[in-house]
Structure formats: structure tokens, C-alpha cells
């Protein structure tokens, strides 16, 4: 269970350009299932996701992860937590150009000091499961949109993190690829992973794999379902 209680986030706090992106959000996210944050642009979905994923600390309020408070932790702690607990797929995928697919997938494991052979084996396994094994040694810039996304998913899963976080994963995909993505998500859910997405794509929100939807508006939660 990931719980947020009365969480607010203000960017550029104390400066004239301060923006409060989230106002007193209270929310529980189940550890089994697929949760989607939906809402219009600028409603604070990405901000909420970054707080849930230990990317940033809330300005006020508490976040607990499986009962452990994480909102007050030093950044160093938070980073480590993020590395082992969360995998991220970004809106623009953010693979590093010039590196091969395999190198990109292995990157999140670099700071943990694991045996490189073990990491590589795990990365190859993920790539294989996502149908990218034969592209492993290609540079990422030659991949197609769907392949890029799958490479990004493989990277998010390489540390065996129990929670997968994806920001607008289907924004640039056509219907076929969106369905393929939903299949992957369903597979992960069945494997016991927690998946948290943001989207304003009705195809996602109405998908059968989705177990909970959180609707946002102007930095506030307006409705939760599931």
C-alpha cells in the first residue's frame, strides 16, 4: 500500500514564481493492480507521480510506502529506495542516445555494484520477454516508437522493482501499439507488480487491466474509482 495523506507540492517555494501543483491530496494506492491518474493537462498528474515514485519530496503532508514513512527521508536514502522499489517509464522515454539498447537497459543497475554478468543476464531476459532481444546491441536512436517504449519498459524493470511507474505511456502510440502496451501491463499485473500510470487516453482508462482510476483537477483529487 502506498498512502498519501494531505500531500501538497509547491514549486519554487517562497519565490514570486511559486506554483502549487498539488493541494492536500489524500490517497491510497493498492500494491496489486493497475492505477491510472487521469485529468486535464496541468492538473498535477506528473507531479503526483513524481511524489509517489520518491523523485521529489512533498512540501507538506506524509507519504508512506508499505507503512514506512518516506516523505522526510534524505535524498540519498530516497534515491536508493527509488532504485530498488520503482521503475520509471517517462513520457518521452528518455533513453540515452548513442548507447546500445542493452547498455541503456543496464544503466539503473550501475550504482548498485552488482555483478555485471548477472545484470546483463537479467536485462537480456527482459528484452527477450518484450521481443527486443535481437535489437539489444543496436543504438537506441534507430528504434521505432513502439520499440523505444518497450526498451524503456525493460530499463524500468531491470532492477526487479515491484512498482512500475509510467507517465503518459501511450501518448505517441497508435491503437495497435496501445493494445500491445496494455497486454504488457496486464502481464506485469499478473506477475504481482504494482503499475501506476497517468493518462488522458480513454482507451487506457476503460481498459480491463485497469483496477483503479484517480481523477485530478487543478491539483486536487476529484474522484477515485476502484
Amino acid at each position: 500500500m502506498i498512502s498519501l495523506s494531505d500531500v501538497s507540492k509547491t514549486y519554487n517555494e517562497g519565490r514570486p514564481n511559486a506554483v502549487t501543483a498539488l493541494h492536500g491530496v489524500t490517497l491510497d494506492i493498492a500494491r496489486t493492480g493497475v492505477t491510472v491518474f487521469m485529468g486535464p493537462s496541468g492538473s498535477g498528474k506528473t507531479t503526483l507521480l513524481s511524489l509517489v515514485g520518491c523523485m521529489a519530496r512533498p512540501t507538506t503532508g506524509r507519504i508512506t510506502l508499505d507503512g514506512e514513512p518516506v516523505s522526510g527521508l534524505p535524498e540519498r536514502f530516497l534515491t536508493e529506495l527509488r532504485r530498488v522499489k520503482f521503475g520509471f517509464v517517462f513520457q518521452r522515454f528518455n533513453l540515452i542516445r548513442g548507447l546500445s539498447v542493452l547498455d541503456n537497459v543496464m544503466l539503473p543497475a550501475a550504482p548498485s555494484g552488482e555483478d555485471p554478468k548477472a545484470v546483463q543476464a537479467r536485462a537480456m531476459m527482459r528484452l527477450e520477454a518484450l521481443g527486443l532481444a535481437e535489437k539489444a546491441l543496436m543504438p537506441v536512436e534507430v528504434l521505432s516508437g513502439g520499440e523505444t517504449q518497450r526498451a524503456a519498459i525493460a530499463r524500468a524493470l531491470v532492477n526487479d522493482a515491484p512498482v512500475l511507474i509510467a507517465d503518459e505511456p501511450t501518448a505517441n502510440l497508435d491503437t495497435a501499439l496501445t493494445h500491445r502496451f496494455l497486454d504488457i501491463v496486464a502481464g506485469l499485473r499478473d506477475a504481482g507488480k504494482t503499475v501506476i500510470l497517468t493518462s488522458h487516453d480513454p482507451r487506457i482508462i476503460s481498459a480491463s487491466a485497469v483496477t483503479a482510476v484517480v481523477e485530478m483537477r487543478d491539483g486536487q483529487m476529484v474522484r477515485g474509482r476502484g
Binding site: E13, G14, R57, P58, T59, S71, G72, L73, P74, E75, R76, F77, E80
Partner: protein, 332 residues
């Protein structure tokens, strides 16, 4: 004199060290006043990130200072050829009254920095910054030392006049000359060797105990400091005699010369390294029971203890080697 490459280099290192020490001290006082891990504020976050910068810079400059200490002595030895009456580093250091104080200050900086680096290393093991306050309190003490050392060094180099007739080791380390150096020289050789053996046994025994049980690092540090003092006394009183194969030459600097195969470095590098590690261990031992360190600290303490013991043992081994190789017979 200032236009000598090693001198320019040493002054550069000192200047950088002073800059970094000042910056670190400024940040240190802020840490002591404002550090609050429980606050999630942006200011605290930025301060946490800044500790990474200060640690990196400080570690870098202090490693350079350790190398500079070696260069300092080496260069003093080389410059002996420039001064009438100087045979080794002692003569050069004696050219004006700032030489020896500069050396002692630099040694002080070396040990303080080593303690700090050990603390920094341990601090990074725990995720909740367990030693950060202590570390920055220490920075406030180290900064003035670094400045004093740099100042003395500069004063010494500026005061190096080649027309000065200086006095060297043959005058300094003799019973005829009053002072601590002659007292060290006057210690009975047999007594000095026994004391060295005793200190060696003590330090290794305490080290073994600390490595085995994970306790008693404070005592080990103390024993290390005692060993350091005894080792230097033994060097002046008897080991030097064996190295030079001359019953009257007590100088602890001439052994750094090429004529003696640079054997001095084989003595001093392990001795200084081990003592520095031991002191560092003593400084971090009180933090063993901190929650975030309980798991990661013991293996690191053990490893550092073993390294320190290896250094102390190396000093003893090199001593035995020097005695065995020597043609000088002092006893029997």
C-alpha cells in the same frame, strides 16, 4: 628561492587547500547551525547536496596534501646542496626558524585530514548522514591548522637565503645539543628496541582484538599513537645507526636519501599511513551504535583495522630487515 618548481607546486597545493578549507569551514558553520534532517525543506535539500561537493573537494585537496608532505621533505632534502652546512633536509629546514614548525604543521594537517577522510567515508555508509555534524565540527578545527601550515610554509620558503650557514643533523641529533631531538638520540638503544617491540606487540594485539570482536577501536587508536612516538624515538636512537652503519649518526631524515636506497620511505609511509588510519578508527568508533551504521560499519572498521595493523607490522619488518642487513654491531 621561491622560483623552484617543487616550491611553486607546494605553494599551489597549500593555496588550494586553504581555499577549500575556508569554503568548507564556512559551510561547516552553516551545517552546525541549520542542519535538520527531519525538515524536508528546499534549503535542507540543497545543503545535503552541497555536502557532496565539500566532501569531494576536501578529499581531493587533502590527498594532494598527503602527497605534498612527501614532496615537501623530498624537496628539502634536495635543496640541502644549496646551503652551506646542510647535508639533508634537516639543514634546509634549519635555514630559518619556520622550517621545522612548517613540517610539524604539515604533519598535523596530514593526520587531521586522515581522520576527517575516515569520518567522511563512514558517514557515507549510513544513509541518514550519521557523522555529518561531527565531520563539519572537525572541519572548523582543521581549517585554521591548514592556514597556519600554509603560512609557515610560505614564511619558510621566503626566508630561504643561500648565504645563511645552517646547521645540520650531525649537530642537531647529538647529546651535546639540548632539546627534544637530542633526548631522543640519547635514549639507550637497547631500551628503545625493547620499547619498540613492546609497542608492536601491544598494537598488534589490540588490533587483533578489535578486528575480532569489533570493539576496542579507541584503545587501538591510542596504541597506534604510542607506537608512532616509540617508533620515531627508536628511529633516532637506534634504527638510524643501523641504517647508516655508524654509531653516531642519528638523523631520521638522511635515511630518505638515495644513498640509503630510499629506505626511509619504507619506514615512514607505512608508519604514517597506519597511524592515520588508527586515529581515524578511534574517531569513528563512538558512532558504532548509530542505527544506520550498525550493519555497514563493522566490516569497514575491520578492514581499516587490518590495514592499519599491516602498516604497523611493516614498520617492524623493515626495522628487522635494516638491522639484519647492517654491518654495524651495537650489542654483544
Amino acid at each position: 628561492m621561491i622560483f623552484r618548481t617543487p616550491i611553486l607546486t607546494l605553494l599551489l597545493v597549500s593555496a588550494l587547500a586553504i581555499l577549500v578549507a575556508l569554503g568548507a569551514a564556512w559551510f561547516g558553520q552553516r551545517v552546525l547551525r541549520q542542519w535538520d534532517l527531519t525538515s524536508g525543506s528546499r534549503a535542507q535539500l540543497l545543503m545535503e547536496r552541497r555536502t557532496e561537493l565539500i566532501s569531494t573537494l576536501f578529499a581531493m585537496v587533502m590527498l594532494a596534501e598527503a602527497v605534498a608532505l612527501f614532496l615537501f621533505v623530498f624537496n628539502a632534502d634536495r635543496m640541502a646542496a644549496l646551503f652551506v652546512g646542510a647535508m639533508c633536509a634537516v639543514g634546509t629546514l634549519n635555514v630559518n626558524p619556520y622550517g621545522f614548525p612548517a613540517l610539524y604543521a604539515k604533519i598535523g594537517v596530514f593526520f587531521a585530514a586522515a581522520v576527517w577522510l575516515v569520518m567522511d567515508h563512514v558517514d557515507r555508509l549510513g544513509r541518514d548522514y550519521p557523522l555529518t555534524r561531527a565531520k563539519y565540527a572537525l572541519v572548523l578545527a582543521i581549517a585554521p591548522l591548514v592556514i597556519v601550515a600554509g603560512g609557515l610554509e610560505l614564511a619558510w620558503y621566503l626566508g630561504l637565503k643561500t648565504d645563511v650557514i645552517t646547521s645540520c643533523c650531525s649537530k642537531l641529533f647529538t647529546p651535546a645539543n639540548a632539546g627534544i631531538s637530542d633526548e631522543m638520540a640519547a635514549v639507550d638503544p637497547a631500551l628503545a628496541l625493547w620499547a619498540l617491540a613492546g609497542a608492536q606487540v601491544l598494537v598488534l594485539a589490540l588490533g587483533t582484538f578489535a578486528a575480532k570482536t569489533g570493539r576496542g577501536h579507541g584503545l587501538f587508536a591510542l596504541a597506534g599513537a604510542v607506537f608512532f612516538a616509540v617508533a620515531l624515538t627508536a628511529m633516532v636512537s637506534v634504527i638510524a645507526l643501523y641504517v647508516y652503519e655508524n654509531p653516531n649518526h642519528h638523523c631520521p631524515f638522511c635515511i630518505l636519501k638515495p644513498e640509503y636506497g630510499y629506505i626511509g620511505y619504507a619506514f615512514y609511509i607505512p608508519l604514517f599511513g597506519a597511524t592515520a588510519l588508527a586515529l581515524g578508527l578511534g574517531a569513528v568508533a563512538p558512532f558504532k551504535r548509530r542505527g544506520s551504521l550498525r550493519a555497514p560499519l563493522p566490516p569497514v572498521l575491520r578492514r581499516l583495522t587490518l590495514w592499519a595493523m599491516a602498516g604497523f607490522a611493516a614498520y617492524g619488518a623493515v626495522t628487522l630487515y635494516a638491522i639484519a642487513r647492517s654491518h654495524l654491531i651495537l650489542f654483544g
